[in-house]
Symmetry: none
Subunit: 211 residues, 4 copies
DNA sequence: CATGAATGAGAGTTCATTCAT
DNA sequence: GATGAATGAACTCTCATTCAT
């Protein structure tokens, strides 16, 4: 981490073959980090998993950290794409349910990668910025949703939207990690239901849910 | 070679001087891991921080992992001790506030250590067991509290106490980490208030809180 | 930590350059152990002797023990190949002389390596098995020869062939070590003559020798 | 081995208690080297086995090598004492039998120690001198015996007494090692008988043996 | 004298990165 | 561009020896 760069910055691959190898390394890197954790994430392991030679690594990536950043970027893009709740869904509670379902179901794997990588962020500014950016995306979006509900008189107006978003987002993230990483045997859909009810109750959501 | 003997299991120090050095190493180890993260946690760094020579490390600890486990154990004991809410406090909401205040205030530093160590648990069974045990302490205690409130008719009886405890505990833990590790500038007491309100609302706490 | 992966079992070198380095390390290792003994046999010494960098050692060998085993294997192969007495030599006494000559002359250097390594065998099962296998080769072959002479009425039929082979083999081995290791200034060919006469007399060899 | 001495040469113990500790360390050292081999022979292991504190080691011995030399000296004295065949035994063959029996039975354990120590002698002049002295004792005595038999017309006069002594002594030593160290399950008395017959036949012993 | 903590040079091993082919 | 051998600094751990108590 944070060592002086001495490598020629590898250019983006120009040939189709190059593109394939480049992508294969990102995919393989992600698999390695998921299966063998941080300590198993070595250029050698990655290149072996990708079926290319050791030296090829540095054809495409400046350093191990460089690959790591790209893996995180890819995981983040995937998470964010997968977690967009369509605007057509209007009922607030249904939106909460859908957001939680997507977070847990579609992004669990990516979330696991992010958590494994978190401590690496301690030393790498770029990585830390990336992770903060991802968190900000979720927090900002949630806060915005809460603010809208407050304006519409559907949620407790005393809550600070941002603090609330951080707390409830943390709740969902933590549960996602426990499900995906520590393998406490929890039924996902049941958790979605629970999380949604807790979330809704926490912000004092009023309306359709009233059942 | 050198397989003839395993590491001579270091006995507990018998002299006062030994005890001092032993404790100094645990303290130093904890500081190192807090300040420089997992990657900076080396026997060399720890002994330097403790002001003793390299070899002394192995006078007291079987291995780097051994010290790590002891640091985690100490952090866990500290957290658990600090977070016990006195029985004299009877009002349910006040208990929630107090529990959150203690978790955030008194245990933040320890929680940071635990989070830094989490990925190491990926490889070390003892460590993983320790972390699970700590989590179980909090989850079990929270679940019990929720169950009591349900029985007393003060909380939503439809909630699964354990799932709820995991989710809300995750919420508090995550916030504690964000405050202590990622240094989002959040006012602790304000967070305590918020978390408590969210927690109470989430479980549908009825009664005295109404103020 | 770092238990995630065991040493990546180094594959056999694929390029000519790799093969050269690999072989150079085995040769250098043998020289080091001959010249500086067990205590001087370090990866650093070996790589320096081979003119390569420290890390290269582990490109080709899993560990120091791994190289040691390969050195022993090579020495054993060499000894055994060099000590095969051609079947065309039929006279029993001449066969004894030839066997002794070959053992002393052709195998002394290898025998020295084996003796230096012997105490390492105390700890390494593979190594101990290898040494026993080598001893068994010599003992078995000698015992077989003695048995044949007994059947032909040329040797004392009361002797247990195996015990005799162990004892007389020990005699030759010990003399080989003294000549090669402890450098008692003994004339090799004179020793061959003596050993052969002692051996022949010991088993009561009758016939052509009587001259 | 062979490092510069920086220690105050420990004086011979003056008190009875000192003598006891000193001797206990030699005994313990010998046990350790027999049981755990060269690699297990550490001051720590020795002091533990002797039931004294670590530091006490250097009260009595200048260094590890110093103790080693004293162990070897003690083992050698023991061997030599135990292997003296009484002059009252006059029959040459009976003397051979008795010498072999004593060597195998009474000195096997000591011989094992010497063999384990042999490779240490590679670097330590004092030790090498000691071992050579021991060998010389046996070789010299055997050679003398052979010479006497030759003079008396009882043994093959063509044999060089010294070469013969080295060879036959090697035979017995090697068998002793195999019995004691490598644990080939051999019956000791049977080996004594065999070795004696081989020895007698090898030197062409004539006379009383004729049975 | 005895004790056991302290020392630090050195061993074996790993691995991110470079480089010759 | 791909290959895989080469590099060496850094890491964890050991142990003979010293020294304060």
């Amino acid at each position: 981490m944070g060592r002086a760069r001495t490598n020629p910055a590898p250019a983006a691959p120009t040939t189709a073959r190059g593109r394939r190898t480049h992508d294969a390394l990102i995919v393989a890197g992600r698999e390695v980090i998921e299966e063998h954790g941080w300590a198993g994430f070595t250029p050698e392991a990655v290149t072996q998993a990708a079926g290319v030679s050791y030296g090829t690594f540095y054809t495409y990536f400046e350093s191990k950290d460089d690959l790591l950043r790209k893996i995180v970027q890819a995981a983040a893009d995937e998470m964010i794409t997968a977690s967009l709740v369509p605007d057509t869904l209007e009922d607030p509670y249904a939106r909460i349910v859908e957001a939680n379902r997507r977070y847990l179901a579609a992004t669990g794997r990516a979330a696991k990668v992010l958590r494994m990588v978190e401590h690496g962020a301690y030393l790498d500014d770029t990585l830390r910025a990336l992770l903060l950016e991802i968190r900000e995306f979720y927090v900002g979006r949630s806060a915005e949703g809460i603010r809208r509900l407050q304006t519409a008189g559907l949620a407790d107006p005393d809550l600070d939207p941002r603090l609330t978003a951080i707390a409830l987002g943390g709740m969902v993230e933590q549960v996602a990690v426990i499900i995906n990483e520590l393998r406490e045997p929890l039924d996902a859909e049941k958790m979605v239901d629970h999380l949604s009810r807790l979330w809704a109750a926490a912000i004092g959501l009023r309306g359709p849910r009233s059942s």
